[in-house]
Amino acid sequence: MTNIGLIISFLVIGVGLLWLFILALKGREVDRRIIFIFIGLAVSVPLLFRISFSEKATPIVRDVFYKIENLPEGSNILLSYDYGPSMAPEVEPMSNAFLRHALAKNHKVFIMCLWATGQSLIATAIDSIIKREFPEKINGVDYINIGFKAGGQGVLNVIITDFRKMYLTDVDGVNLDSVPIFKGIKSLKDMDLLISIGGGFPGVKEWILFAGAPGNIPTAGGSAAVAAPLLYPYYPKQMVGLLGGIKGAAEYESELKKVYPQFANMPTPGIAMMGPQTLAHLVVMAFIVIGNIAFFVNRRRKP
């Protein structure tokens, strides 16, 4: 069913574009309603038939992936959920992918957030990902959620020298000194990689400026598309790599699927959301090309 629908819709879009292409060669202009139909199809077909495209990771994303991949098993990775529900559709795929990857690689995962709204999102992630997909992982041994502390970069200023000055217990009120995962962990400097996922303030930028750079700790980020251009200048010196917008998430997910066969069936919202995006972008580009062909044909015809 899915395949038939897919083939038919691709045929419609492909043949349609080809027909418009031929019309353009004859110098005919396209009515804008036809463009509207194509955009409508390009967005709704992938939604209805779940079409996705395999992404090829760009270097800036690959660098994050292989940073996690190449750390020895049991390394300490910190994930900070610096976002709220409104930003979640765009950046939650990133934090989920990071979480899956770090756990699959048997790293120790420390989860926290600088946004109060991140707290409930962490709880959801623990329930839906760790408890369901990694039932063998033990809270306090393989991962820990230390939750939210107010203060933004002030929190970072403190935990870069000592976690216990800010965090005495984890979210469940368990003393950090009695938690095995925190044995030998004093400050952020004991982390092998810091990852902040966000798009506002405080976010990736604050992690770089107040933790990564002063503590010389590798830092990576996941950011909403609007904030991403402001972060590129930190790569690669102060930032290991960056996932920018839903496209970055999709690239990471596809890399994860490629390297870990066990994730073949994992939900990949990033890749799924890139389906309509990619098709729509291709349609827009196709129309730019068609428009220019028509323009040049017409100009040659009537000089």
């Binding site: 396209v30 509207f36 090829k56 760009t58 995006q277 972008h281 349609v283």
Partner: protein
């Protein structure tokens, strides 16, 4: 009276607010004045509501073209107004949030106002495409530059960019489309934005000065004497 008083008010208020930035004792005036402006703006909403009723009753009375639809406007306006001002179906008392869950106001907002606005906004996806088709044409040098920059960014936002140029070795990686797209966004784009921003800042400053000095007075509905 009709001319000099308003000009004097503008001058005095403007100068006081400029000075308040430099003189800590009156520093908070700027904030107070902004709050006052918010309050005045609410009176403007009422002015707007009054105008809306006037415009549409007139259309109905004079049986102008499409006057039937004006009835819908007035009905929608009155129902929403009643729902909001009297807090209809609101589970709380008079001090409750006007948009509390379950209230008619919230239902109308969630199921009418919001879908209408979101759909109107989403029309942009279609218009972005038709505008690209119509306008991104290599008519002259400027248009060609515009077209190329847009095309690079569009390509960089799809997997196609990486597939087409991923083979380029690391030592030339700036030529890979996604990297090129990032570079365009962070260098020439930043430069252009900054130039426009500085220009606008100066335009605003000069315009404000003209207003304070009373040189520019069209906003009062009068010409320069």
């Amino acid at each position: 009276m009709k001319k000099q008083v308003p000009l004097t008010i503008t001058f005095i208020v403007g100068v006081v607010l400029i000075l308040s930035v430099f003189f800590p004792p009156v520093e908070t005036w700027g904030e107070d004045f902004s709050l006052f402006f918010d309050i005045i703006a609410v009176f403007a909403f009422f002015l707007g509501g009054g105008n809306l009723i006037r415009v549409h009753t007139e259309r109905i009375a004079k049986k102008k073209k499409d006057w039937g639809f004006s009835i819908i406007t007035i009905l929608g306006f009155l129902i929403m107004l009643a729902a909001g001002l009297f807090k209809l179906w609101n589970p709380g008392d008079i001090s409750a949030d006007v948009a509390a869950t379950g209230s008619l106001f919230q239902l109308l907002y969630d199921w009418m106002f919001n879908p209408l606005g979101a759909t109107m906004y989403s029309l942009l996806a279609f218009y972005v495409a038709s505008a690209s088709y119509r306008a991104f044409r290599a008519k002259n040098r400027d248009a060609t530059i515009l077209l190329i920059a847009a095309f690079i960014i569009l390509l960089g936002r799809t997997p196609l960019g990486m597939y087409a140029t991923g083979w380029i070795p690391e030592s030339f990686s700036v030529l890979q489309i996604p990297n090129l797209a990032i570079w365009v966004m962070t260098s020439p784009n930043l430069a252009g934005q900054r130039a426009i921003m500085i220009g606008i800042a100066l335009g605003v400053v000069a315009m404000s000065l003209r207003l304070i000095l009373g040189v520019e007075r069209t906003y009062l509905g009068m010409d320069i004497d």
